[in-house]
Structures are given as C-alpha cells and as structure tokens.
Symmetry: D2
Subunit: 276 residues, 4 copies
C-alpha cells in the first residue's frame, strides 16, 4: 500500500524496477496507475525505475473535497519526489498529465533529466473547453456506460474503432462497473482544476531535453496544438504516431514506447560524453 501523505492528502504511487534512472508517468485525467500496468515490464527491463502516481482525486490517491488548481499536482509530485529521495527524473505526461508535466518543468526544471509530452496542449482552446464540458455533462449522468458512450468517440480514433472494436466493448463493460459516484465527483473536480491554463508564452523557458509526441487523428489535442509545444521548446524532438487518436498510448502502444525508449537512449548517449 504505497501511499504517502503529501500536502495533507494521501498520494498513491507504484515504484517498479531497480535502475539508476527513474521515469515518472503522469496520468491522463481519466487514467490511474493501473492504466499503465502493461507498460511496466518494458521500462523496467530496459533498466529504468518506473514511478507511477495517482494525482489527488485519481485512482487510489485520496479524494479531495476542496477545490484545487492543476498547479496543486505539481506541488504534490515534488513532495513525492522529496519523500522518495528522487533528485532528478525523466518525466512523461500524457494529456492532463502532460499539462502537469509542463507546469512542473516550468517551476522545478532542475528536478528533470528529460521531459516527454504526449497528446497534450499548452492552452485551452474554445474547442478543448467544449470537449471538457461535454465530458463534464457525461460525468454528471453518473453512469459508467453512458459516460463511456458519450465520451469515448472523442478519445479513440475511427481507425481504432475498426481494428479494436471488441477491446473497446470490453472496456465499456469494465468502465460501467468501475465508475462510481465518487469517481465522477472526483473527475469533475479534476476537470475544473484548469482555471485559465495557458502557458504557451512561457514554454521558451524550458531548457530540459524534451520529446513531444502527437497523433494525427487526435481530436482532443490536435496536432496543430501539439506542434505549438514542439515549436516553443528549444531543441525539442517531435514524433507523430500515425493513425492514432488521443489515447495514443493504447492505440499505438509499441510505437509510443519505442519513441520514449529511443528518446531516453539518445539522451543517455549524449550524457555519456566525457570531456577529457
């Protein structure tokens, strides 16, 4: 039961592997540490420690009845690093987790060895807000199956609906059971944490080596917006997962992992430069 009291809230995490380098995975808004279960082996076998975290109001972390801003997670994560004695890590964030990762990089860049941003944005467009409102309405139905039916076509691509229909149907059933009133309430708090999130103009300050991953059928965080991050962060790398929607880590799991592992390997070879 790895849970630590951080900033007054129990934050759940899982730490796997024994490597010297640690990679942290920050969840999308509907995800949890459990979402990455199938990803652990790949990273630990490649010699990384993998740290997964549930934000407050996610997964097995405590529910948080008070309102908070997305920046709160930044402090929670930093607190967790301090408790775990993690000086510097690689940080991967997808979607909502990518926004937290960007905010973390802006405030605590010195704690990062590298930054990996998948299917995320540096601002809320009107359209992204509208999708957020659609998901909020879907959450207010309080029913997992309805939520899935209303929200999923925004998240998975048409191609994935053709190739993985049974997987999606299974997922729908799973959601129907999993999503309780508590989950929906917590979701709505997470969803309302954005405030006026817009950090596009600040991204030039980020100096950490960065990989930006986009997907060409992502409706929620479309390539145009993802590309803005790549253009704003100096020397960042940019890779596109073709024929994938917003849930690129599921739709194109191997490509997603290959991009991250390759980026990490590239950093390693650059770090190794020995100045005589």
């Amino acid at each position: 039961m790895p849970k630590l009291e951080i900033n007054g809230v129990g934050i759940y995490y899982e730490l796997d592997g024994t490597g010297e380098e640690t990679i942290v995975f920050l969840n999308g808004i509907m995800m949890s540490t459990a979402s990455w279960a199938d990803f652990v082996e790949v990273y630990t076998r490649n010699g990384y420690r993998m740290l997964r975290v549930d934000f407050r109001d996610q997964g097995q972390s405590d529910k948080c009845l008070e309102k908070y801003n997305i920046n709160q997670h930044v402090e929670d994560i930093r607190g967790l690093f301090d408790h775990l004695g993690l000086a510097r890590v690689h940080m991967m964030g997808i979607s909502y987790g990518g926004q937290v990762a960007l905010l973390f990089a802006l405030k605590y860049g010195a704690r990062l060895k590298s930054l990996i941003l998948a299917n995320t944005t540096a601002r809320l467009t009107n359209y992204l807000k509208a999708i957020g409102q659609a998901w909020d309405e879907a959450a207010r139905t309080g029913e997992g199956e309805k939520f899935f039916k209303l929200a999923m076509p925004y998240i998975y691509s048409d191609r994935f609906y053709e190739t993985h229909y049974d997987w999606l149907k299974e997922r729908e059933k799973f959601f129907s059971q999993l999503l309780t009133k508590d989950w929906f309430d917590a979701y709505l708090r997470l969803s309302s944490s954005h405030g006026d999130y817009n950090i596009l103009d600040q991204l030039g300050e980020i100096e950490v080596p960065t990989l930006v991953i986009g997907a060409d059928k992502d409706i929620v965080t479309p390539l145009e917006e993802v590309k803005k991050i790549h253009e704003a962060i100096k020397n960042s790398l940019f890779i596109v997962l073709p024929e994938a929607g917003h849930a690129s880590c599921y739709e194109k799991k191997d490509e997603f992992n290959a991009a991250i592992l390759g980026f990490l390997a590239l950093q390693k070879s650059k770090q190794n430069v020995v100045v005589p």
Copy 2:
C-alpha cells in the same frame, strides 16, 4: 402551410423561386427546412427553384410513431415530387440527407439531373455508429442545452470554435428552447432508421452527374469515407472545404454554395451541347 400527405404522413416543404431547374435540399438529421433559410436567396437569384423538405419526424413534417427505415424517406421524396409535378431535379443531400440522396439515386436515378453529396457516407463504420450512440444518449437526456453540449463538438470544427464562438453560444441557447421531448423522440426514431446501411458496393450503378463535397476537419463523416463515394461514382467531382467540420454548410457557407452553383453551371454548359 405547404404540407402534403405522402404515404400517410404529412410532409412539410417549402418551394422558392421561379426557375426552370429545381434543386432539392435534403436535411442532415438534426436539421429542418428552417436550417436553410439563409441559403434560399443565393439559389433563387441564380435562377433556380429551391425545394426544401422536412423528412418525416423532422421540423414541421408529421411525427411518425411507427418505426421506419431510412429508405422510407426515398419513397416520401418521390411521392412529393409526383405531387408537385417535378419530373427531374438536382438533389443536394448533406449527412443523413446525403444518405437518402444516395438511396434515391440508386432507386430513382432517372428523376435526377444531378446529385450533390455533402459530408456523407455510404456506410456506417463502427466509429460512425459510436457517434450515433453518443448522440442517442445525449438525446435521451431530453434537455436541449445538454444535448448541444454533448453533441456539438463532434459537429463543428476546432477552428470554428475559435472563430465563431459567440455564434455557437447563441445556437446553444436557441437549441435549449427549441428541443422538446417530441423533438428528441423523433430524433431517436430517425437515428434508428439506418439498419445495416451499407451501399458502398452499389455506388458504381449511379450514372447521374455527381459532386462530392468533403471537409478536412469532419470527424463524423471523415474525408477517407467521403472519398470512397467519389471513387465509386463514375466521373464524380470532388471538392474539399478546408478547415471545416461536419457542418460545412454553416462553417463555410460561401464555399459550400460556390461549389454547388459551380457544379450546376458546369452541368448546364454540358447540357447545352446541341447535336446538329
């Protein structure tokens, strides 16, 4: 009050203009004759008669408590043509209306001078079915504002949300008042009329001059599917409205009308060939 009893149901229509050539506009599933109010002038001034029709369960046509298949509209439209003494017309259908237009062309091609298909498909992909189910769930809330919030981001593009946010907000208010329980019930009947709609293999039979219009940000009927129609119908023209979503006729009204008027003009110049 132009309403005719066709196949036992009162079908509402509006006929404007005095030209020799008639162009029929078939509505998308959430639309009605009223949706085209701003389009009438353009076509009548260019010398066309414009016929707008509400399908059964749409707008001012009768509600229809019995189940029916999408093919029923084909018979209703043919019946209307007979009543109005329309021998051959140009037919434009968008989305659901485009599916009806395709079915009409397959069954009563001789009644068409030309066929214009906007943002429509020849089959239901898993993804299109999933969006349909999302809209059904949204309709079952029975509330116009919720329906709008849940369904609209599928229909309008992210670009349009940036450039026409106030217009969309007005529209949301308008929908909130307009959409009654009757409307939602009717919507659900229309939505369930598709059956196993898949006519991709039959499109080669269509011999009518055809224009296919797509939009590059259309999620509901994406360009890949629209293109399949173009490829299947011999000698069809294909025009793309850039930076537009599924509601291309609103997002890019001038381009939409230009494409149609130009296609009609082209047909006219070809018809005029006098064989001595």
Copy 3:
C-alpha cells in the same frame, strides 16, 4: 491575329464569347493562351466573355530581349484592358499568373470585379526559389524532352502520374517539338522577373471579392503558402482540389471550373441586391 502593341511590345490575346461580364485568364509561367483552349466553351456557354493573354515572352506575344520585372505584366495587362475598353473584369491567375493577378489587384483593384487565385503564392520561399533554379537548369539544356523529364514531376501529382500516364507521355512528345531555343530563352527571362517578390504584408489592402484555390498535392505552391493568401485577404473564399498537384487546372479541370463558375455565380447573386 489579335495582337496589340502595348508598352512597345506586341501582346497577343484571344477574346471569346459575348457576355457582359469578362473573365481574364492569366497564364502560369510555362503556359500560353493555347493552354486554355479546352476551357473556353465552359465560360462562354455560361455567358462570360473570356479574355486570354500571353504575357510578353509567352506564346504568341513578342519576345522581349530586355530584362523586366514581373510588375511589367501588370502594366501590359492594364494597357490591354484600356485598348479593349474593359472597365472592370473578373481576373483569374494561376501560379505565375496568380502573382501577376495579385500585383494587379494591389495597383489597379478598381479595375477588378473579382479575383481568383489558383496555386499561387505571395512570396518566394527558399524552396520555391530552388524549384525555380531547377527549372532554369532544365531550361538551359535547351531540349524539350529533357526539360519535361526534369521539371514535370514537380508539377503533376503522383496520383495524376498513375491515372493519366499516357496523357503525360503525349504531352512530353508535344513539348519536345514545341520548345525551341527561343522558348527557353524567353522562359529564363520570365523566370528571372521575380526579383524579391514578397507581397504577403500588402494583401490586407485587397478589397476585391476573392477566391483562393489550392491543391493538396501541390509541391510548388503548397497549401500552407496558398492558405496564407486566403488568411490575408479579407472575406476571401478558399477551396481545395483534393489529390491534385500544381497543374490543378489540368488534373482536376471540372472541379477547377466548378469552383470558379460557382464563385462568379455567388458574386452575381450578391451584386443583384436591389436597394429599393
């Protein structure tokens, strides 16, 4: 032999049709009045007079041994309009002809009823300059067949090479005979007329109703550049010809004509507004 001495140079033109409204076609750099032979019927049957012109150093206009700037054509065209008594016209320009049309609109906008810009740009990117240099090198071979082989893959799309290979082979033969040393010399003068052409910042001044046509497989004047024109000219329309390269008027002739005829029809219906 319709040729008029304008600014000291014999300018060849062809004027077809008897309508009240005149549409002028300005050639791409390798084209001539002859290139539009198959287009005349469509426009004259739709009630337009069609004016085709060979720029100096093109087709049957005089060769011009002195250096000149692309702006010279603007004066030549204006002179031709004066001679022919054309007060106001619709002007279509493709590629190089589109650049001339843009320059004309900036200087003599009052002479235009509308402006149609196909596959053209408002500036020379490094890449466009590089393609220009490739074509110059190709022209310096002085051999039509070599010129065609070296230059054409930039101009026609891969799709067109699949669907119209025989047409392209015929065209290669035709070019082999047509292109003489004089033609190549004239081509190189036209090619060097651009100077520091970059009018992107001035396009906001254009007030003429404008249609911008792009093609999604155009390498020479890619959609990104074409779109910049659309964004800079207020209220301009933007239509994309899908699966077409730079020679969109040949690859997608019907769609090209439909877009133009539709745009003209739309203008007409707006002009017709009678204020009582």
Copy 4:
C-alpha cells in the same frame, strides 16, 4: 582499408563499436558509408556494433561496369555477413537501401533480428519512375552543381529549405567537387538496377520484427506508399517524422535515431523474456 572481395567485387565497409548486437545501415542511392559519419557515436554509445556498407558502385566499393539487378546487393550483403561472421543482425535501410533490405528480408529473413525501413517503397509507381528519370537526366549533365540543383528539391522538404538553407548551400558546394564522371556513371547503373521492382504482394511473408519510418513531406516515397509496407508486414510498427522530406535522416536526425533506438530497445525487452 576495410574492403572485402565479395562476388568478385570489392565491397567497402566500416565496422564500429564493440557490442554484441550489430546494426547494419544500408545507404540511399546517392549516399555512402561517409553519409553516416555523424550517426556512429549514437549507436556505438548505446552498445551496438554499427556496420556501414557501400553497395557496389557506391562510395569506396568497386565500380561495376557490368549491368546488375538490385538483387545483386542482397547477395553482396549476405556474402559480407558471411565473411564477417555475422549470424544475425538488425538491418536499417533507407530509400534504395530500404528496398535492398526488404529484398534481403524476403530471401534471408533468418539472418535478421529486426528490420528498419525508412522512406522506402515496395514498388515503383509511375511517379517514382519519373523522379528516377529526372535524376538520371540530372546525372547525365555530369556536373555536381547542376545535379544538386536539379535533384535536391525532390529530396529535402520546403521546411528544411527554410530552416537549413546554409547547410544546403554548403552541401551543394561539397557535391560540386565530389561528383565526378565515375560517380555519375555508377549512379546511372544503380538507378537502372530496379528492373520491375514490385514486391508489395510478397511482404506478408516477412516475419521479422519491423519498424517502418515515414516522413510527411516526403515526395519521393510518399506516406501513402510507405504505409502500404506497414500494412503488409504483420505487427510492424509505424512512426512518422513530421515536417520532414525524403532525407529524413538528415532533416530529423534526432527523431530518426530515437525511433530506431527505441524500436531496438523494445525488441531487446521482448527477447529477454525468460521462460522458466
């Protein structure tokens, strides 16, 4: 001077690094072992041995005055592996080198641990043939500067021309000196080696873990063709380098290397599965 007599021809190679796993780099048609000089460090530091090879008629391998088919390289490479005692390797091929890699995988799949295909195709479309003919004409000028001017805009993207113009100008100078009559003669032999290359229907036989890399501004081997390879090879991964042309390895060197290193890391973690 690492050169081995293989099938009667001196084949030049360079072998760097000391790892257990070897990755072979097969050149594009205009490339040589020297083209990868800047890539060696990345792979050797990541623990790979890197084998670079000049095909016959490339770089420092012997010129080959007799005609040969592209399949000849497959035998040469296999011969080289035998001489060097390489049982099984990872093989990366770009463009022409990717075609050789595909042919190798079909014939000697058992010698491959994995296959990485960058910017390559499984068939010659009419368009690719036409570009090949353009490059042949360019080669027949026998002048490096002309060759560069005529051929490069096909190879580098418009974006790269904007961001790396000076680099390209340096490269043009370099080519001007490097390319001799011998080089051009050899180039023309390589270019004519394709015969009726079309192995699209055979790709289903490939069982080696495969990564397919494409670039979204690649004109020579466009994404549509690259994607066909991905679709034909079971379980292959597909990654797109955005805003890159045909020379993706230069335009997006870091992303190119990251994709490959990540794919190799992924394979490694899968190989490591210990069945108890």
